[in-house]
Amino acid sequence: MDLIAFALVLGKIVVSLVVLLTLCAYTTLLERKLVARFQTRIGPNRAGPKGLLQPLADLVKLIFKEDLVPSGANRLLFTMAPLMAFIPAFLAVAVIPWSGSFTLWGYQLDGVISDLNIGLLFILGVSSLGVYSLVLAGWASNSKYSLLGGLRSSAQMISYEVGLGLSLVGVLLLSGSLSLTEIVAQQATVADWFIWKQPLGFLLYLICGVAETNRAPFDLAECENELVAGYHTEYSSIKFAMFYVAEYANMVTISAVATTLFLGGWNGPWLPPLAWFFIKVLAFLFVYIWLRATLPRLRYDQLMKFGWLVLLPAGLFNVMATAAISAWSGGN
């Protein structure tokens, strides 16, 4: 690999990270604006035209806050926990294809940082590492609310990871590949989208994805009337900001995987691939916010019962049915 090709790969990584960070920042604004509309309020409109500079103002505010470490907290793990939330959340973008291959300055480039042949497993693995940040943050804070919140959310994430994995198996059976690039290539037209062949799988993925990111109506981790704010109760300043950004980065990842697996990825007519990719991701993010503004929070025992007694059997049924049908019709 010569130097220019290396620089181009490095450039792709940097651009992806910058785009993801910007997307996270503006998802917070989108969320505040949309929730405000749902509740017939106006929402943030002071910083910049129509409040468009609000994420920047939030960031500056968070950075200049006092960085508190509670007494009795484990300083090392307390500092490490936000990093452990932040890093896995950003690793997952490495394998998500946002475009087909294109030519730039005479170089043929893929629209993905690394086309791993097991890209999907990579995403599942990396996102499962996010649990540690919650557990360690809860434990290291030396506070009962943090500990309970950390335990709750890690139990929730472990439970819903099973359903999340199962909901994807259907697509894998139909496509016969674990490579995200290959899966996107098989959904060239709207009729080929896997959402039509896997409606149950998509529904399960949607539910588990919302639970996996600890978002409403499954945001038991930060159930404010019981736990103040859950695992990040004791966090302030830049450490809190890292948790906050990691949550949104995870939402973007879940949306991007949904786009790739069920909604045809970057495929689409007329518009360039990149535009289609972002339109679909934003549509999925809109559903996230819509759910938050609409549904009340579940109780913790309801959440666990729902995960194990409804989602898990439904996921297993979906796998069995898909396998049986594709074997019947002589598929791969």
């Binding site: 042949n117 599942l124 540690y132 557990v135 472990i158």
Partner: protein, 165 residues
């Protein structure tokens, strides 16, 4: 670039696994073990065994060690309560086992150098599945049977406390 990544990952694995027994704080030990396992996973990725690398992260780093961490955190044993380790024979045994394993690895290294280089299909999900479900199907099914039995046993043990209702 490859060499650089190798040394970082190998360093993570070695330092992590050393710190596991250096720390007296059990939570630190678990975190070091996570570091070590992640380092090993990176090595797998470098060896083109991406499937095994991903499984390493999903199963060991992502699932089993979370349970370790749970247990360690909920027991919350302080290091001063543990006291010095009095089982001398364990140290001797550990040294003997370590030496045997090291010697074994050395002989393996010689054997591997003379082996054929792996094919492009090596370590992919498809090639592994083909081997699992043809040549090693009995061992594979027996293992899954064992895991199922263990799972049912665990559920049974956990439910015994509920008054056999």
């Amino acid at each position: 670039m490859h060499t650089f990544v190798f040394f970082v990952a190998a360093g993570m694995a070695l330092v992590g696994s050393t710190l596991v027994f250096v720390f007296r704080n059990t939570v630190y030990s678990v975190v070091s073990l996570i570091t070590a396992l992640t380092g090993v996973a990176v090595l797998f990725f470098q060896l083109d065994a991406a499937f095994i690398g991903a499984l390493q992260i999903i199963l060991y780093a992502g699932a089993i060690l979370v349970l370790f961490l749970f247990v360690v955190m909920l027991l919350n044993v302080h290091s001063d309560e543990m006291g010095p380790d009095r089982r001398k024979f364990q140290k001797v045994l550990a040294m003997v086992v370590g030496a045997v394993l090291f010697g074994y690895l050395m002989t393996l290294g010689g054997a591997l150098r003379s082996a054929d280089p792996p094919t492009s299909e090596f370590g992919s999900a498809r090639s592994l599945a083909e081997v699992f479900f043809s040549r090693h199907v009995l061992a594979f099914e027996l293992t899954s049977f064992l895991l199922l039995a263990a799972m049912i046993g665990a559920v049974l043990l956990a439910r015994r406390g509920e008054g056999d209702a």
